[in-house]
Symmetry: C2
């Protein structure tokens, strides 16, 4: 247990024992530092964690307070998945399109949405970056930057890789039309129709749809809701299926929110390299961590000895500029192949979006924005967890992810998330039912909830309504 | 022969007979109208046509003059192609990538480029539209417009279809990441790996690359350099191959510049409908006509009785905003399928680009810009044709397209365009060698030249250099 986790546990115990009572003010960071000798960052992390758990809450310009009302009785964590491991053609699109279409109206409470609230993004600053960068647009850049993308933007992305300990040259980055295109291009670079791809269980539906469209087979691998894909199950699947690739989200997986520990990521890269199997690492949520620092990238362990087999994909769509449609791939040894696929499928990403993001990143406000965004998401997670604890029936299990903006909820056996989806929509609430996340349409009693929107009384009421619908 | 064509012929004859001498001023439009009774639009069209042919030239604020120097001795037109009609797997990518890469430097004379000069586009006005539309950006539009694209932009595009006589509802338009993505999505909507697709001969290399990537087979159909694909050959190929689709450019085909007459387009749509074969109509050059009005769309003849089998694709990349990467498809009965493919391959086109174009189109300056662009391209075509007539060896054949910005040059037998490409590049000149445009790598003695850039002494010298290299 880390220092901040120990401190958080200590305070949570004090709350449970009523040493600290609801509404009471916690010692300030300065006090914890001066008296106890804890470093400010340890205290901040402990308080953030407690806020995420709903134990305490922050009040602007005042400090941290024990959350009012009841002590949180957090629901227990779900069990790891146990898929049967058979290769399957994928056919989830009809279900997915139906759910997404339903969730698109802005009058619906967006628990089923795949995006955080656009209100959490620095839109005015991005608009200024768009205007100024386009005014200075070199007409010839539209030709020179075809294929791999704008040079300055790729340089800015390479700088962030360097800070994250992964050596990626700007020339080996391909800017794409969002991470979804990056995923599609990477899959095409390493797999042919009929091939098998290993995925998590549950898995992000858009990846399943990409497999479906490319006529690839999915093998779902057992996945722990907090720790990610189980390497023992992965090793067995590698032996059994000789897959063309493994696709997974190493940090804050969608829908589970699971986070692989750094040594597990290293072992993952080593295991796949030993089998010569490329890893497509989808890392779009990696910046949305609630801990002290950004989770390691599996790409970091893709040393030259590991053969350049990690194709790292990410984007700005979840953490900065959703409508700009700018993502990228750092495809290792497949960089040229992915660049050529980009040229033949859509030529280039939109230049105004690329130039504006390059300018925005060069101005240096990105990390400040990310800190604000993470703090907002942590607080919203705490609010939703507390509401679930209050309104969902006993026997419900819920993840407590350390980042991202999704909760995975396992309802008691017999619950039907598809029926709940339909009933909730009639009450103006969207959810993402579990079968969207499985080639076999499993997880019938599960749902994914989005806490990426500022909490409101409407949201609280919607959780209560869902609870009523579940209880029937 | 139309009135303006007759008038143009009359004047061209006068020049050939030295009735009008080089440098002499032509009667003004007002004079032609007042004395001869010709309508101003007829006179303008005749003069435009003569300018395109290099017979006359315009001088700003002064009028039209007979071109100086020699009377143009236009090279004869190439013969129709006679491909063998066998289905072929496509493998042109290495060649194409090599040529495109070489042409990318701005220090190279861009005769091999696929784009007109970005200097011909209204970049400052687009930058202002970007800035103002993004300032007013509704954060929720980034979610609401996923998939098919921004509603206002689709409405503006639908308005233009209406003016062109094609009934396309805004809801049936899918905005894409350029016309290349539109083509890819349409191909995926109608064909499966292993299927056969009919294409022109020669054919646009990016379409051949798309077939290659999607593991489709190409059957090249005989194509007339001025009138487009030959319907007799098409009918035979339909009987013989039972193709999944026919892909072609009905107006100013790349690389030939061929233009199908309206009744031929109507017959084309009827013929394909009779076989139940979808037509993917790539129309990215349709706005770049030199005649009196926009060429008809084949889509126009896709009446409800014709089953909605025409998938019309276009973009703003060739005529307004190349780097914005905004194209679209109007896929008829396949609209929903294409929309879903868009959702699963790249989610949406970039929102800033879409909003800026919607605003620009709403302001009403697009048609004025297009008129200026067409006039520039016509003049540049005339300059290049004249230079070719002067410097290329006897026996050279050249197209005289009525729109677009490509010439197709057929060199005397035995000439080697690939060797010419390599030699020209060493002299700082790019060309697009003929084998890029054929699954069978035919057209070894052909090249495509781009006249989409303002003519300069450097360009004139480059044509002379090419002539020297060809003569050896």
């Amino acid at each position: 247990m880390k220092l901040y986790e120990a401190l958080a546990q200590e305070i949570e115990d004090m709350v449970a024992q009523q040493v600290l009572r609801p509404g009471e003010r916690l010692p300030s960071v300065r006090q914890q530092h001066a008296r106890r000798g804890a470093s400010p960052s340890t205290v901040f992390q402990a308080y953030y964690l407690l806020e995420a758990r709903g134990v305490i809450e922050s009040r602007p310009r005042s400090g941290y307070y024990v959350a009012p009302g009841r002590a949180p009785t957090a629901a227990p964590e779900p069990e790891p998945s146990r898929p049967d491991g058979a290769p399957r053609s994928v056919d989830v699109s009809e279900l997915v399109f139906g759910v997404l279409e339903a969730a698109r109206s802005r009058r619906v409470v967006p628990f089923g949405s795949a995006f955080p609230s656009p209100e959490l993004f620095p839109l005015p600053k991005l608009a200024r970056a768009l205007a100024s960068s386009t005014r200075r647009l070199d007409p010839w850049s539209t030709v020179a930057d075809l294929g791999a993308g704008n040079g300055e933007l790729r340089r800015q992305i390479a700088l962030r890789y360097q800070l994250d300990g992964a050596a990626v040259a700007a020339d080996d980055i391909v800017v794409t039309n969002g991470a979804l295109e990056a995923l599609n291009l990477c899959l095409q670079a390493v797999a042919r129709p009929g091939d098998t791809v290993l995925v998590e269980s549950p898995s992000f539906y858009a990846a399943l749809q990409a497999l479906e469209r490319l006529e690839l087979k999915a093998v779902e691998v057992a996945t722990h809701p907090r720790e990610g894909m189980e390497l023992g199950a992965l090793a067995a699947a590698l032996e059994r299926h000789r897959p063309a690739a493994c696709w997974l989200m190493t940090s804050f997986q969608n829908p589970l929110g699971s986070l692989m520990a750094p040594d597990k990521k290293q072992a993952l890269v080593g295991l796949l390299a030993a089998h010569g199997v490329p890893l497509i690492e989808d890392d779009v949520y990696g910046e949305l961590y609630f801990g002290a620092r950004r989770p390691a990238l599996a790409k970091r362990y893709d040393a030259p000895g590991a053969q350049g087999l990690v194709l790292h994909c990410s984007s700005f769509s979840k953490c900065l500029a959703p409508g700009f449609r700018v993502g990228w791939a750092a495809p290792g040894r497949y960089a040229r192949a992915v660049e050529r696929l980009k040229l033949t499928t859509s030529l280039a990403a939109a230049m105004p979006s690329q130039l504006a993001l390059a300018e925005y990143l060069g101005q240096g406000g990105y990390d400040r924005h990310l800190r604000q965004l993470r703090a907002a998401l942590m607080g919203q997670q705490a609010q939703m967890l507390a509401a679930l604890a209050e309104h969902f029936p006993p026997g419900t299990r819920v993840t407590h992810p350390e980042g991202g903006y999704f909760l995975w909820v396992v309802l008691p056996e017999g619950a039907d998330a598809l029926a709940l989806h339909a009933a909730a929509l009639e009450r103006g609430i969207s959810i993402a039912p579990g079968p969207m996340f499985s080639a076999k349409r499993e997880f019938r009693n599960c749902l994914r909830l989005n806490y990426g929107h500022p909490w409101s009384t409407e949201h609280a009421a919607a959780i209560a309504t869902l609870g009523e619908l579940i209880r029937g």
